[in-house]
Structure formats: C-alpha cells, structure tokens
Symmetry: C2
Subunit: 192 residues, 2 copies
DNA sequence: GTCTATAGAGTGATAGAC
DNA sequence: GTCTATCACTCTATAGAC
C-alpha cells in the first residue's frame, strides 16, 4: 500500500490554513481530513487530544512564527529597523488582507475561553515588544504602550474590514496610515 | 396552561444575542432554543428558512439599529454633533467592548460569503455616512473617506483586542484615541 | 516478531430540517 | 417529536521499518 509519511511539524501548517479559513467551530474533522489529505487515523495519531490539540498546536505554531520573525526583533534589534520590518512582515504574512489572523478569529469565537491564555499571550507579547521598540527609539514609555496597543488593534481591524468589504486594498491603506502615524510620533532619528 | 405569545420582531433581539455570543457556526439550534426559551417549532414557524433565515433577520435588525441611530444622523444632522454621537453610541452599543460586533464576527467566519451583501452594506454605509459628515464638517473629501475607513476599521480592531486581552478598558482607550485623531483632522468649528 | 503510521469503517451523540 | 446527515472520535486492519 502506498503511503506518504508525514511528520507532525509538516501537518501543523496544513491544519493552520483550515482553521484560519473556517474558524475553530467551522473546521470539522471531515474538512480537516479533506483539505489536508490526511486520514483521521493520521491526525489522531499525531494529535491524540483531537481537534482541541490540533488547534492548540496551530496556535503555538503561529505564535512561534511571530515570536521569531517579529517579536524578538522588536525586543532586541535596532528599534526603527525592527518596526519597519514589522509592518512589512505583517503585510506579507496576512497576504495584504487576503489572509485572516487566526488568533484574532479565535478571539471572537465562543471557544476563545478554551484558548484564552494563548490568545492573550500572543497579543500581549506583540504590544509589549512593540512598546519596547518605540521606547528604545525615543518615545515616552507611557505613550509607547498606548500607541503599541492602538496599532496592534488597528491591524486586526484592518483584517476584519478587508474581509468584510471583500477589498484587500483596504488593508494596505490602514497599515500605511498606522505606520505613518507611528513614524510621526517618534523623535527624529539620530544619525551616528 | 399559560403561554407566552411572541411575535417575530420580539424574537429577533433574543436570537441576536445568541449569534453574537456564539457566531453563526457556534449558534446551534439547541443553543438558540435554550437561550431564547423558544421551541424549535416556534423558531421554524417564524423562520421557515431555518438558521440561515434567523441569521439574516438578525443582521437586518442590527443594520436597522445602526441606520437609525448612527448612519442617518451622520448623513443628515449637524456633522460634528452626529460624529460625537457616533462615538458615544458605539461605546454604549458595544458595551465598552464587552459585546462583540455581530457583523464583524460574521465577516471572519466561513459563512461570510452567504451574508456577503449584508456585511458589505453595513460597513460601506458606515464609512460612507461618516465620510459625508467629515466632509460637511470641512474635511477634504478624499481625506474624509480615508479617515472614515480607518476609524471604522479601528473600532472593529478595538473589539477584537478587548476580547482577546479580556480587557474591556482597551476598547475605550482606542475609541478615545480615534475620536481625538478625528477631531484634530477637522478645521476649527465655525461659531455661528 | 515489535513498533509506528496509515486508512477508513464504525461508534454514539447531536446537528439542522421539517 | 422525528427524520437523516454529520459531528468528534474510536478502533481494527494493515503497511513498512526495524
């Protein structure tokens, strides 16, 4: 019998796209098997905890990507470069609004409570590392925290709007405006 | 035996709270009967089209509320007063972030496509009437349209964030910032 | 033989339609 | 309440690596 052998880490990104497209409730096991091409046996082999474990793994995978690509740079790198990279990487990750934020979508669902810690951690970390970069770039810490929260919320809103209007260009317009507002709030960069 | 007689318009607000709390997928018929206190028979009597017709009625009801309370004033009343009223009414309607936007939640679900016209109409109308008020208040029309889109998206993002962080105060902070940014963009009010 | 990964029929529970 | 379809999930059978 022909078999394609997967590893757990190969499966998670496939599951992620299904959960992203359908939400937690909407991602039925039959949708998960159909869209990943994996049988229920395979899925339950990798995720004995069933659908909830699959979703938890997907959330952890998304969080890991953001931690690596966005949060750690914001926390450690040269702040203005890290912030510029955040805008570019967010636009790329969300495919200019064609892709939804899985964490934000879970936050609006009833199942939010089940994944509350992961959801909260993701947004808290984004806001906290962005505020850190803003502060290092010369912002007042209180204003940096407020602006970071505002910007992270703004990205989520842009995703809702782009999907609601079925108009991807709305996402880019909001991102550009947020980026410009953030740049204007910072003191002029020191030229070394 | 005592009977409570409902009319269709009495039922819609009850259904609305269930769909708002659980989303379209999450709102099972048993949840709808349990939380409204109505039997499946009653619901199918009022809504022969089943769950989809219930959700459509709820969307129309929400849209009607916003049209009456927010969109028409934005389109017709003294613009600065109408905008100030929009901020206050939005904060009250969304219960300072404790309540989710049903239309925004539907937009993120797979079922978006089924209700695409209603979802698009709601957001389009909000943006269009807000832009009209801003223009009448002295804004450049192009800037007014961009700012209106930005603000309506910002409200949606604030709702996602408040729910994700489980922190209602985040909603008020974002709303206040958006309101202030909007006020700052307008020319000084003429004193008649 | 053991072990892990796979496929998919079969389970009871519950969904939405009527 | 009754219907069928589908839900999340379990389990058996089997494939190949060792």
């Amino acid at each position: 019998m022909a078999r394609t052998v997967f590893e757990r880490e190969d499966v998670v990104p496939l599951l992620a796209e299904v959960f992203r497209a359908l939400g937690y409730e909407g991602a039925s096991l039959s949708a998960l098997t159909a869209r990943t091409g994996l049988s229920k046996g395979s899925l339950y082999n990798f995720f004995p905890g069933g659908k909830a474990e699959m979703a938890a793994a997907v959330l952890a995978h998304v969080d890991g990507w953001f931690e690596r690509e966005i949060f750690t740079p914001l926390a450690q790198d040269e702040p203005r470069a890290a912030i510029a990279h955040m805008w570019a990487a967010s636009d790329a990750y969300f495919r200019s609004g064609r892709r939804v934020c899985l964490v934000g979508a879970f936050a609006l669902e009833e199942t939010r409570d089940r994944f509350a810690l992961a959801i909260q951690g993701y947004f808290r970390r984004w806001i906290e590392t962005l505020a850190s970069a803003l502060t290092r770039a010369g912002s007042d810490p209180g204003q940096a925290a407020a602006l970071a929260e505002y910007a992270v919320g703004g990205i989520q809103g842009a995703l809702v709007l782009a999907r609601a209007l079925n108009d991807e260009t709305a996402f880019g317009r909001t991102l550009a405006r947020l980026e410009q507002e953030m740049a204007a709030s910072l003191p002029p960069a020191r030229t070394p």
